[in-house]
Amino acid sequence: MIRRVLAELAERGTLDRRGLARQLDVPPEMLDAMIERLATQGYVERVTPGGIPDACATCPVACGCGADPCEAATVWRLTDAGRRAAEGTPQRG
């Protein structure tokens, strides 16, 4: 199951959380727990966009566009280790 999360990400690029949960036939809460665990193991990482101008702080679409680090816009990114694992390549070092 947890390998499928990495495989889907590596193959399809950007996914939405609910859509991926539907695809894997698990509740979104289950997917969250797995992604957080993958993050502690270094396979995915949370993206915190940097350099957000002050204007974004008051922008009403900030949560929708993914620029604002608000809860509704959580974005997780596959790391290089995650990609290697998804492709089945042993890691070095």
């Binding site: 690029g13 509740p27 993206v47 957000i52 809860e71 509704a72 290089d80």
Partner: protein
């Protein structure tokens, strides 16, 4: 004496002499402190764990069979030796071997809690599960069946609401029952399969003869696969220099088997959750899921996006253009005429400055407002309903699809609002090559200012076909972005792919208040920022186009325009179109007021939409719009590019965009003329 002791009828003298230990364990914020205080009352001692700054709480627990020590273990998410809390909990379970572990789980986040339980069961089998926050779970429409969970886990499960002390007595009696009869716990911990199981068996076999008590060899083997540093140290000491290096090499070879260890735990968690938790999919959740099947679909998502965009643009033209015409005819033009009349006796330059410079500038801002207001109404509705976040996902996927990997896709998607944001957000990309590529591509994303220019000028050139032409021009931008992205990605900036999981909000009915606020704040920002720039630039353009004179053709601007006329000829541009293009560097919207001044539209943009087609043919119009969309970005974006990438790369970007936009402009104009679209008005 505590309420629990009183309820259990415990003799205070007996309670004073604890025998045996009960541990209270769970994730942070699961309600452990509340349960601990309820169970122990004032009979508690607070100190620190030896050698640690982590708080240690111990109290006396009254059980029907006599008192016991209750230890409140630190809250933790897992039992890997990553933090002091995690090390304390597992050392305690290994060395103190409590009679019973009371495991508190949050009924609203059972998946996370059960993951920790799976880890606990690898070390300790006598566990009673307290299922806290049952009331909150019910409020959220989540139905957790404690009996079904008990059967699935093979452990006693007690539903609770700790803050009301609901279920605390039953928790105590279950703990007591397990203390008397450990066979009440029949949990079977997660089991691994395939290669992971074989490797685990092999490791366990090699560790069993050498690992000291109380470490279970199988648990240690699992932790080694997880890359646990403490477990590695333990195994290194136990195996010695002769055997450890070989085992370490094997572990490195099998590094990703940690995924199977985690996977087995989650499969175990999932079975329990599936058996016990029922989340009825209703209301917004179910609607969101149904709509997202289309809105985030690989193909239909795009079709829907273009349909929504097309409808929004068509409605904007339908409603805003007449309004724009009205404003122009009834406000801007009479003001210009009145100003000229009032200044009939004054020097001609003064009338020109006020009527052609200032009023044209203010008129552009004013007649822009209906178009922008409607544009923002639609954007506000789309944002508030939750659809805009799906647009980001669909665009992101498109960029990933054409090889513009996720790392660039997120900042570029933000560029639809403003290119400055794209350039600034390129910082999230780790590699310098990826960052530079994103910064070079950012100006190709059609920002809201360029879209607004398109919204005003496209109807002038294409009339009833404006919506189609606009979508075509946006698609052209995306194609150029894709092409250049592919080219840069394959050649100069080779980079690894990246991928994202995004959180999309649930759909909701748009609120009038928040939509109006969105429209207001955006219009205010436009008037305040772009508005000022447009008026000042209009005055400057008027001055350049009026002096030394006499007439437009003898102005400084005309002379400058004639210098680059040979390039303009290839695209069907006269010098006025070139001047408008160059003035868009100040702010994209300035192009409109410049055209207003140079084509003598007497102020408003509605008059411009009549004057332009008379002076510029459709082929040149198409080329002009395409070049405007792809041209060097506005001053603000260039300044941020210089700040983020330095002068050299900003220059590269300017040259690249100039080349791409002019080549495409020439190609489009010549192609359109060949197709008979008409080079002359």
């Amino acid at each position: 004496m505590t309420p629990a002791e009183a309820a259990a009828g415990v003799d205070p003298a007996v309670a004073a002499e604890p025998r045996g230990t009960v541990a209270l364990l769970g994730q942070p914020n699961v309600g452990k402190s509340t349960v601990f205080n309820t169970l122990t009352g004032l009979r508690q001692h607070v100190g620190n764990w030896p050698g640690k700054t982590v708080e240690r709480k111990e109290g006396r627990l009254a059980l029907p069979d006599g008192a016991a020590r209750l230890i409140d273990l630190p809250g933790t998410y897992s039992l890997t030796a990553g933090s002091a809390e995690e090390r304390i909990v597992r050392q305690f379970l290994l060395h103190a071997d409590p009679d019973v572990v009371i495991f508190l789980a949050d009924a609203t986040a059972l998946e996370r809690g059960l993951y920790l339980l799976a880890e606990v069961l690898a070390l300790h089998g006598r566990v009673v599960v307290g299922l806290n926050r049952m009331d909150v779970a019910r409020e959220r429409g989540v139905d957790v069946d404690a009996d079904a969970l008990s059967r699935a886990l093979g452990l006693p499960v007690v539903p609770m609401v700790a803050r009301n002390a609901d279920g605390v007595d039953r928790l105590l009696s279950e703990a007591e029952a397990v203390r008397r009869n450990p066979a009440r716990c029949q949990a079977s911990p997660p089991a691994m399969q395939g290669q992971a199981a074989r490797v685990l068996d092999d490791l366990t076999g090699r560790l069993a003869p050498v690992v000291p008590a109380p470490y279970p060899p199988r648990w240690l083997a699992q932790k080694l696969l997880e890359g646990d540093t403490e477990a590695c140290g333990l195994a290194r000491d136990a195996l010695g220099r002769t055997q450890w290096p070989a085992l370490e090499a094997e572990l490195r070879e099998n590094e990703d088997l940690v995924l199977d260890v985690l996977g087995a735990r989650y499969a175990w968690v999932e079975r329990a959750v599936r058996a016990a938790v029922h989340r009825p999919s209703a209301g917004r959740v179910s609607w969101t899921d149904r709509l997202d099947r289309i809105a985030t679909h690989g193909v239909w998502g795009f079709v829907l996006l273009f349909a929504v965009l097309g409808a929004a643009l068509a409605l904007t033209f339908e409603i805003a253009l007449p309004l724009q015409g009205w404003l122009d005819a009834h406000m801007v033009q009479p003001s210009a005429a009145a100003t000229r009349e009032a200044l009939a006796g004054a020097p001609p330059w003064l009338g020109g400055l006020l009527a052609d410079g200032v009023i044209t500038g203010v008129g552009t801002v004013l007649t822009f407002l209906p178009v922008l207001a409607l544009f923002y109404v639609f954007m506000g509705i789309l944002e508030d309903s939750g659809y805009l976040a799906r647009v980001a996902l669909v665009m992101d996927r498109f960029m990933h699809g054409i090889g513009l990997h996720g790392k660039s896709a997120l900042p570029l998607t933000l560029g639809f609002g403003c290119n400055v944001i794209s350039v600034m957000n390129a910082r999230i990309i780790d590699s310098r090559a990826g960052r530079l590529m994103t910064i070079l591509l950012a100006p190709l994303v059609p920002c809201s200012a360029r879209l607004a220019v398109l919204a005003v000028l496209t109807p002038a050139f294409f009339g009833a076909w404006a919506s189609v032409a606009m979508i075509g021009l946006i698609a052209l931008n995306m194609l150029v972005l894709a092409g250049l992205g592919l080219l840069l990605n394959r050649t100069t900036f080779r980079g690894a792919e990246s991928a994202f999981v995004m959180e999309l909000p649930l759909y909701q009915r748009p609120h009038l208040r928040s939509t109006l606020f969105y429209v207001y704040s955006n219009l205010k920002a436009f008037v305040k920022n772009a508005g000022t720039v447009i008026v000042v630039a209009s005055i400057a353009i008027w001055a350049l186009s009026s002096f030394p004179g006499p007439g437009l053709e003898n102005s400084v601007l005309a002379q400058l325009g004639h210098l680059v006329a040979p390039v303009g000829d290839l695209m069907g541009f006269d010098w006025r179109l070139i001047a408008a293009l160059l003035s868009s560097f100040v702010a994209k919207e300035v192009a409109i007021s410049t055209l207003g001044i140079l084509y003598g539209a007497d102020g408003g943009t509605a008059a411009l939409t009549q004057a332009l087609p008379a002076a510029v043919g459709p082929a040149a119009g198409l080329a002009f719009l395409a070049v405007t969309m792809l041209f060097i970005p506005c001053m603000a974006t260039v300044a941020v590019m210089r700040q983020e990438a330095g002068w050299a790369w900003t220059l590269v970007s300017a040259v690249l965009l100039l080349a791409v936009s002019l080549l495409l402009g020439i190609g489009l104009y010549q192609g359109a003329v060949l197709l008979g679209l008409g080079g002359a008005p």
